[in-house]
């Protein structure tokens, strides 16, 4: 049995004898997955903090409060079904972000201004 201590609360087996692949039958039984976003305080954006399963939107907000804001970590919560999120693909990183890469003139440092020009 191969064990690692870094299972947080102590050594756990990490060898191939421990199964990791989900069974489709079990996967279909659970409530939908929601992603949770919390505004830490007024003046800040909502930030992604994790996910949870809930039967509907309202229960997702209640569960998010219990799981992610037990110590005043937030003043506002957003939840959204994970299935409703459209994300850019990491495979397309280069073509998607390339157009901004060669436009150095969008940055203020591109422009040379003598140091003695005031307030610039």
């Amino acid at each position: 049995m191969s064990l690692t201590s870094e299972g947080g609360h102590g050594a756990v087996p990490t060898g191939a004898e421990i199964p990791v692949e989900p069974r489709p039958a079990a996967s279909r039984r659970d409530w939908p997955l929601y992603e949770v976003f919390v505004r830490g305080k007024r003046g800040l954006n909502h930030v992604h903090v994790g996910s949870l399963h809930a039967p509907d939107d309202e229960m997702a907000v209640h569960a998010a409060r219990d799981v992610y804001t037990r110590r005043n970590e937030g003043v506002s919560i957003w939840v959204v079904k994970a299935a409703d999120i459209t994300a850019s693909s990491p495979d397309e990183k280069d073509p998607l972000f390339a157009p901004s890469g060669d436009k150095v003139y969008r940055h203020p440092t591109f422009y040379e201004i003598p140091e003695d020009v005031p307030h610039m």
């Binding site: 050594a11 939908p32 996910s51």
Partner: protein
Amino acid sequence: MSAPTLERPAPDEAALQRQFDATIAADHRIEPRDWMPEGYRRTLIRQVAQHAHSEIIGMQPEGDWLLAAPSLRRKAILLAKVQDEAGHGMYLYSAAETLGADRADLTDKLIERKQKYSSIFNYPTLSYADVGVIGWLVDGAAICNQVPLCRSSYGPYARAMIRICKEESFHQRQGYELLMTMMRGTDEQRAMVQDSVDRWWWPSLMMFGPPDDDSPNSAQSMAWGIKRHSNDELRQRFVDMSVPQAEFLGVTLPDPDLTWDEQSGHWRFGAIDWDEFKRVISGHGPANDERIARRRAARDDNAWVTEAATAYARKHDGGRPAEEHAGSAA
């Protein structure tokens, strides 16, 4: 010039592997939708899922004292701590799901004993002093393990660990404060604390896992940035931290071989009973059956709540079936 095409070239696995290696080498984080080697993904699911299971099962030994805690103050503290353990389990299941695991399925694997949890939670809490000693020693050992995990190479795991570590500090301090209070009490209370330390000290040392020369997967985990320090290194750090704390408290650690080594600047300790560790982790500890039985009852006896909430949601959510959901993207 050829006609424009929407077809993307087939992914080149060697190039993806190089990109992955470069990300690890630069000490950057791997994120959920990045390509990752299958072994990396599987090792992380095993580790994160079993860590989550440890938090969830970890509610039980202390939960046993919720109704018997001696004052409203102590009950409120213990309840907050047990709730935190549930929260930690949830953060970690959330991280495991970003790797393609399914939460309900992981719970099934725990109940079917296919996946494990930390051996420490298979010991019973025989007296109220155990609540204090678990906070001091067991959570103290967990902190030693968990602080380096805040720099784990897998982003969602590292972020979950940062949240957990912030909360563990409360766990350890409430335990130590409880013990200091008991040590200021009667002889009987002091004897309870000593008895508890005698029972928990060695299992706490076992939490760090087998000695480095008997830990075959460690090297790969270190190379992947999943593991940051060796088992023996972390164990030594824990012993060095705990000895002066025991002295301050006025308890004796149950190890006649514990001696200060001037030359290395470390406390030397006696041999650990690895046979006991192997017995407990493979299912033959004092409380393994009870822990799993209670987790199974929680799943099965509460199934009607899950079903009722699902039925209610279906009725009020335009009939959208609750089962349709994709894996976590974040």
